[in-house]
Assembly symmetry: D2
Homo-oligomer: 345 residues x 4
């Protein structure tokens, strides 16, 4: 079986080290180089991430697409705004690209500019990029040169809402996604707001006025609905390291056997687990795995449906889904390297 | 100034020890006795709660209303189902009662039976009991013999929804309360589900099919609305010790200056703090305090209003509001003993 | 390559579910049955541990050695005191046994009786049992019928002290092991002391007067020293799920290049990682792995040596070391199934 | 009763906000101004610390001793190195000073230079400064112009060791202080090392080669012993917000009734609580309080004594002890404003 040679740019953050961990265990992938920003340039992998002693040591190189030659695939886990300009260079160097940052997710360059406060300089690539929510765009992945890997909130929220929206069962003008995220979603930058002493033993909402994942979720749901949707998205910061818990609310406009609907929709999906009726998935049940666990509720048999959808933000919400997409892009078994049971407790 | 003599029944749980802490600092209260169940009967306060060394030591007595004579007020922090039968005995002994358990909250004995799976044996006292959400029933407190202290979720949720519901601004058929609670809300009983290794670093919803606080919140909002309401209530267990974060969603049916509305409604309230527009209150900002902090949002100026309401579940959600009610019942300054700033970090 | 058929008794606790996780990923092991105590008897694996959905479902059987036939190896993860009597039955049924509980660790039955308050009814098997600290007794494992898998504190402490003690470098009359453990070490029983609200955001020592792991550590170090040792062992409960951090103190009586000593002693060991001089291993760096990370310090070049030794209590401190021992017992690659990098953050 | 007018310099960190909290509840203190560094200059107190809404709002001023006039006392909670130069200016402005930073703790300016890598420019004030471990230097406080408030580790460690050292009961050449601290001890600066995702669910030692609190503890114990001492000090970072747990080891060289010794030594101390024999104090038992709880152990009646000493690092380890010292300096009741029971759970 062939081996995919990969490079990771932006390898010193949480998504970066998760990619290294997953790819180190992958039977058909080989990491050729690690690139990073100024802070960690020149440092050794084992120094920055002692937990990876055992994995072959490497030196973090400067972020230079020119030195990317010789790999089949580049994972970009760079801060938002970096990929816009370097993706074209990597493509030119003959690499395929999975961008785990947000730069190629929004199809409309105006939306990108509005939410990321930066002009998108490669609008034609925006069109070309395949949005890598695997369960929605699997068929487009084998031929893709560039995959825009979904955000963590968008993955949990879209997988949760899709069966309802695709089947026109709920009022898409008044969707509510109340989402809770572990702190690793905020990244590994020096920031007072995410100090242990600031976020432990506490909880808060943030970005209620507008969070960058709002247009991304709306774009995906609109595609599924065939029309624009109205979504209220409220993210919350929760004192846990990993995990996203999306609690999704919709008003039913048609009747259906919801449990059956979800089970059918995701029957063939290796990484979506529809739980038995009445379940309450815990985020820890997917810790370290690429699985999205979903439970379907209709309290008091009323007209409000409540979907509970949990993922590990660094795996199915980032590095794991990226590897899942890589597997499909390169004709490998979709579960290769990412099919292990989760870590609990 | 007079001193209120109090007894605490059910004093060995979290609400019990919080009552002891608050009353020990109260300038006009004196604890006469502590009663408890079998597990801790005969043990000393300092043995069960070493953090209270410094507060006068006492022995936990058996739970016997007959020995209650001589106190002005009894706080009941017993497990649900106990107060039903012992409240009448305490009243007979000449004490007034604040029941921090759920037994006297639901006005309709059938509802109580449905949700607590036990017949209510004192329906006439249900009628008499004043529901102690101070900000809603303050005027009835001075003359009350029995006060039913609200639950933690109901306190945060009702205070958050009240201004909208009282003014007919939202569609009361489709209210959503997505609530997150710290683990102390589950009490101090031996239960695998609340072990550190089960709930740390994880999050989950629970009771989506129906939680006992649902009819309590609905009852309060219906009273404010003047008609029945439709509420979807989803509680979540969060890895923090104290704190409730209620994220409340409603569909606006009339326009109004919501920020102004909330500020006016709660202007005179010593324990409700409406934050500046655009705020995101953290649960830790009310840790150890009796304050409810509220922020009002209307994302993208759409027709969905989002209210963020946080309390400390053991203070404003239990022991603190009980002391607030005591203060009013006995003609003391409403803030006596509970007006200190919160503990952070 | 052959497949080892295994059974797990005591499979519904933390060590049990960790064994299931590790064995499910093992290329040469197959789980034949799961046995457990009354609480979970008859329940399905997926119901008790939803995170293991994906692993083949099974029903927890009653704990009956008679039904053990047909497996090569039984892992016992039962509460202390159970293995004493059922190990002989499993042996009789023709199975080899790895006892992860404490019942076969202390060679002297009087010591067992003193510390576990129960007479040991199989003293001849105590003699036969191989103490499964792999790095110390590897050569005895291939022929062993019964392996007494070490405790978590003893694993971290002995691996940390061994090179010093084996070489007579420190005063063995005054050893100090100050150890910190995550809460999962206390097991999955219903116990108020280990509720989230009791142990989160706090730390305490326990068992200072005498903890059951004290004679176990002493026994191992005495064997290495060739004479009795004097050990002060103070365990601490730490608000983390997994992990043991042993901080070990000894007074040097001979000079030596300590860093070199440790590197040489563990050079060939796949699961002991001596870190570069000056390091401070974090418990999270070994989370989910079978590795023990050790750092050697001699502050201010004085005569006190400080060894830092970290493990994951459920892996190298329990289930992982058990699988490592199984690998050796059955002639498999020692790292089979347990060689993956750790989960961080 | 008089009111002490105070100013707080370095008011936007954790010690700063704890000083504000404690002084806001103090019956005889009044905060005149708050000074801070560039980051928060010009911001309002309520904006930086929303939990202090309710306390009078103020604007953080620039750090300029010239504007200090009119206050009786200045608390300095500035980063180490700042107080060296501004203390003289505050003294000149006629204020007394309590320096909660480390700048005036080490009596020997060479030691300061060695450990803080900065020349001490006010060596004569070093001599004058009273080391504010209240229980050791109470009598010198009333007349002090400048008090050097002890560090958190030094407070817990010295209070734990003092009775043994003062009475020559242990070998002072081989003291061991194994200390565990909550993360707030690291302050409120932007630093990757203290992000939630870096320190939660993990533990590590740090600074084993030499930590700045080592010479401070040694200085205090040497004073008590009347001769130099040999101390091995190993601090650990623990995933909790507040709290220090010092586990202290010494080799007994004389016999004594240790429990009685400790009870006698601290009998009259309002903020040192010697627990009953056999106790294991939890850090949470002193959360938010100025109390140091101590337990005395002599495992297996051997010659090693183990002292457990816990404090809240931000209260007795910083702001609370500073207020205690203020009370004595100004002739107030020593417990004024800091005598409340702790917050638990």
């Amino acid at each position: 079986m062939k081996t995919v040679k990969v490079g990771i740019a932006g390898a010193a953050g949480y998504t970066g080290c998760e990619l290294i961990r997953l790819l180190a265990m992958h039977p058909h992938a080989e990491i050729s180089w690690l690139m990073t920003g100024k802070t960690n340039e020149g440092r050794r992998l084992h120094e920055v991430f002692p937990h990876l002693r055992g994995v072959p040591d490497r030196v973090f190189q400067a972020l230079e697409p020119a030195s990317a030659q010789g790999v089949d695939l580049v994972f970009l886990a760079t801060p938002h705004g970096v990929a816009v300009s370097i993706v074209p260079e990597f493509l030119e160097a003959g690499c395929r690209v999975i961008d785990v940052s947000a730069d190629y997710r929004l199809k409309d360059p105006k939306l990108y500019e509005e939410w990321y406060e930066k002009k998108h300089t490669a609008p034609e690539l925006l069109k070309e990029a395949v949005y890598g929510l695997t369960e929605l765009h699997r068929s487009a992945l084998p031929g893709a040169r560039i995959v825009a890997n979904p955000g963590c909130y968008p993955t949990a929220s879209q997988l949760g809402f899709l069966p309802l929206v695709e089947n026109g069962l709920i009022d898409t003008d008044h969707l509510v996604a109340d989402c809770k995220s572990g702190v690793s979603g905020a990244g590994r930058g020096a920031n007072v707001d995410f100090l242990f002493s600031e976020v432990a033993d506490s909880m808060k909402a943030y970005g209620v006025a507008g969070h960058r994942h709002l247009p991304e979720i709306s774009q995906g749901l609109a595609l599924a609905a065939g029309k624009p949707v109205g979504l209220t998205f409220v993210p919350h910061l929760t004192p846990m390291i990993r995990g996203i818990h999306a609690t999704l609310y919709g008003k039913l406009i048609k009747d259906a056997d919801l449990q059956l609907l979800y089970e059918s929709r995701y029957q063939a999906e290796p990484f979506v687990d529809v739980m038995p009726a009445g379940s309450h998935p815990e985020t820890r049940s997917v810790r370290s795995t690429n699985t999205c666990r979903i439970a379907v509720h209709r309290p008091q048999d009323g007209d409000t449906v409540v979907i509970l959808s949990v993922i590990d933000n660094l795996v199915k919400g980032a590095a794991g889904q990226a590897v899942q997409n890589m597997n499909i892009m390169f004709g490998l078994d979709e579960t290769a390297g990412i099919g292990r049971p989760g870590l609990l407790p």
